[in-house]
């Protein structure tokens, strides 16, 4: 944004990479896949780069309202300074806090999750999915809580997946009934409390039981949890998990 601002330009979208998108090795691949798609579609976008900082979502959800508001107010100052109107992101948690919580503090933006963006590009005919080696493969989609239940985005990710020609199946608990991957509310960063089982194992077992060879999701936390789950169940040979952006990029040979 800074470079563009120096040239007096304002891009259509700010692409919010997110901390996981920038630092988590697995999710960096998703970020790369998604910017390749943006490039392919010749989208006018920019990132904040080193000016980006935590959205504060984790701080807020673990009770540190002070830290959340500090992050939020700093981010808003930067984004408003650049005249940001639309934000694209692969992170449902950033999506949720920007869309529903930043307005209270003076940050009002139009939020687009990458699955919504891909859906829109496909329906507008700008993105045409060619047949690929994904065609006919059995795939199951895991709804991220902060995209689905929190913000009602259930069908767009599914429509994008369907455009890939995969054989899509559902888990018994899907859409608003979906079971959390276990990472929300700060759980990603701490040991789980004592119990009979880890939530990510419960969810991965449900996904594996569908017989799918691909598990798709659209959230950095879900990605980590499902990857761990597949490892834990020793199913790394037969089952792979991807973000929807990666599957689209794969189909396009990007």
């Amino acid at each position: 944004m800074a470079d563009l601002a120096a040239r007096g330009e304002v891009p259509e979208y700010l692409f919010w990479v997110g901390s996981a998108g920038a630092f988590d090795d697995r999710y960096k691949k998703v970020t790369r896949a998604f910017v390749k798609i943006l490039e392919y579609l010749k989208i006018n976008y920019a990132v904040l780069g080193t000016e980006e900082s935590s959205s504060g979502d984790i701080a807020r959800r673990t009770g540190n309202e002070m830290l959340f508001q500090m992050q939020a107010l700093m981010n808003i100052e930067i984004m408003n300074g650049y005249g940001v109107k639309k934000i694209l992101t692969c992170d449902p948690h950033a999506f949720n806090t920007f869309k529903n919580e930043y307005p209270d503090l003076g940050g009002k933006y139009k939020l687009v999750h990458h699955t919504q963006f891909l859906f829109e590009q496909i329906t507008k005919g700008r993105l045409k999915m060619p047949g690929s080696e994904l065609g006919g493969k059995k795939l199951v989609y895991h709804d991220p809580c902060y995209l689905g239940r929190a913000n009602g985005v259930y069908e767009e990710p599914r429509a994008v997946l369907d455009s890939l020609g995969v054989k899509r199946v559902e888990m018994p608990r899907n859409r608003s009934f979906a079971l959390c991957c276990g990472a929300g509310g700060g759980q990603m960063f701490k040991e789980a409390e004592k119990g009979d089982k880890e939530i990510f194992i419960e969810r991965t077992e449900e996904a594996v039981a569908t017989g799918a060879e691909l598990i798709a999701t659209a959230c950095p936390y879900c990605m980590v949890m499902l990857t761990d789950g597949i490892k834990y169940l020793n199913r790394e040979e037969g089952i792979k998990n991807y973000d929807i952006a990666e599957l689209v990029a794969m189909s396009l040979n990007l």
Binding site: M1, D3, L4, P11, S19, G21, A22, F23, K28, T31, R32, V35, Y45, A46, V47, L48, G49, T50, E52, S53, S54, I58, A59, R60, R61, G63, N64, E65, M66, L67, Q69, M70, Q71, L73, M74, K99, N100, E101, D104, L105, C145, R149, N151, F177, L179, C180, G182, G184, G185, G186, Q187, F189, K190, E191, E193, K194, G195, D196, K197, I199
Partner: protein, 435 residues
């Protein structure tokens, strides 16, 4: 005339007991924190969909339909109950029958629903007593919870039996029948041989049993989990609006943070004139009145707990327990707070003595509980508020989270990576990502 006097006394007694209960409740609400409730239009629409049309309860279609039929039936029968009060006070018989066709429809519906509710309640009792329903169990479900449920169901059962009895003997005894009674029409056939005197007696008996049971029921409810019958509709009106995962902003903190970021900023003195008592929620006086209303409306159906990922995987957290604990703790602490004022301290608190830190930290904030609640109770709100207390008043977050906080403070990410490395993901890309 004697009947009128007897009825008036019974009614006054009922109102007196109810007023006493209500006074106690208002005192408890006065201990809670304020919260503004706007957007009446939106709220009425939600109430129409979720309460009157029973939208959420149909997520379990079979049992949901059964509940919806009981609810809709109650609404129809309520009309007849109001008529009974008018009849009782003024000595009339079927006073509302002047309404003509409308009367016939409502009374006929009420009569059919009475039979339907009776059958459904028998099924509900059977389910509770003989079937093992997982969501009716849990650490928070004590013997009293089950007894309470069975008492309420039995009262409803008796209400329906007496209503059908009243209607049936009315059909047999009245000279000029007002209203239509499809279900009682069949039942009355069984008693057609009875002599007129007994028919009259049975009608009176059922009439009195029905109205007295209504009065008893009304005064029992506020002390029962079935307070739900009165409070669930208004509770839906008090639903959280907007996205399910939205968390309210603490405005008193915004002021502090703004001053921290820019000490020279001149901020209007809109908030913060009163000293902030405590951040977050430690005990009942920290909850707002909607939180408390939620706890009184909860009927312990356990749909929230049944979908909670933490609970499913054997953790101690149960969203239903939070509501039950809040209600019990208020009952325990309110008398002291009312008599001795805000400084009253019994060396106990909602957090820790009722709800453990372990429960609070087990939540993934997936919002499945709030999404599942048929009357839109906001369980995560309590969790967030308790976490706020632990973090901001006591710095008592789990150690891993404290590390995350300092990472975010120092380098703007939960991980210990420098903010300068935020573009490292572009390595290996052939294209140029615009900054």
């Amino acid at each position: 005339m004697i009947k009128q006097i007897a009825f008036t006394i019974t009614l006054l007694l009922t109102i007196a007991v109810f007023s006493y209960t209500l006074r106690g409740l208002i005192k408890k609400f006065k201990l809670t924190r304020p919260k503004t409730i706007g957007s009446p239009g939106k709220r009425l629409l939600i109430t129409l969909k979720v309460a009157l049309l029973q939208q959420t309860i149909f997520r379990k279609p079979v049992i949901g339909l059964m509940h919806a039929l009981v609810f809709w039936g109650f609404l129809m029968i309520l009309f007849g109950s109001a008529e009974m009060i008018v009849d009782g006070l003024s000595g009339t018989e079927r006073a509302f029958s002047k309404l003509g066709v409308f009367y016939n429809i409502i009374i006929a519906a009420g009569d059919v629903f009475a039979l339907l509710i009776l059958v459904i309640i028998v099924a509900f009792i059977f389910r509770r007593v003989f079937m093992h329903i997982r969501r009716f169990e849990g650490i928070e479900m004590k013997k009293w919870s089950h007894t309470d449920a069975n008492i309420a169901l039995t009262l409803i059962l008796l209400l329906m039996v007496s209503l059908l009895g009243m209607n049936s003997f009315y059909l047999l005894g009245a000279h000029d029948i007002k209203g239509i009674y499809p279900a009682s029409g069949i039942i009355s056939g069984w008693f057609s041989g009875m002599n007129p005197e007994n028919i009259h007696l049975m009608h009176e008996l059922n009439w009195w049993v029905h109205i007295v049971l209504i009065f008893v029921f009304a005064n029992y409810l506020p002390y029962s989990k079935h307070f739900h019958v009165f409070l669930s509709v208004p509770n839906v009106y008090l639903s959280k609006l907007g996205a399910l995962a939205r968390i309210d902003t603490m405005e008193d903190i915004t002021r502090e943070v703004k001053l921290m970021l820019d000490p020279q900023a001149a901020l209007p003195d809109t908030v913060g004139d009163e000293p902030i008592e405590r951040f977050g929620l430690k005990d009942v006086e920290d909850v707002n009145w909607v939180n408390y209303f939620n706890s009184l409306s909860c009927t312990q159906c356990g749909r929230c707990t049944a979908v909670c990922p933490a609970n499913i995987t054997g953790k101690k957290l149960s969203p239903r327990k939070l509501m039950m604990n809040l209600r019990s703790r208020m009952d325990e602490k309110a008398p002291g707070l009312i008599n001795e004022g805000a400084d009253y301290n019994d060396n106990k608190s909602l957090l820790r003595d009722y709800i453990s830190e372990e429960e609070i930290w087990a939540c993934t904030l997936c919002n499945a509980c709030a999404n599942e609640c048929p009357i839109n109770i906001d369980q995560p709100a309590l969790i967030i508020q308790m976490r706020r207390y632990l973090v901001m008043e006591e710095s008592a977050a789990p150690a891993e989270l404290n590390a995350i906080f300092s990472n975010i403070e120092n380098n703007g990410a939960p991980w210990q990576f420098s903010q300068d490395d935020r573009m490292n993901w572009t390595e290996g890309l052939t294209m140029n990502v615009e900054k």
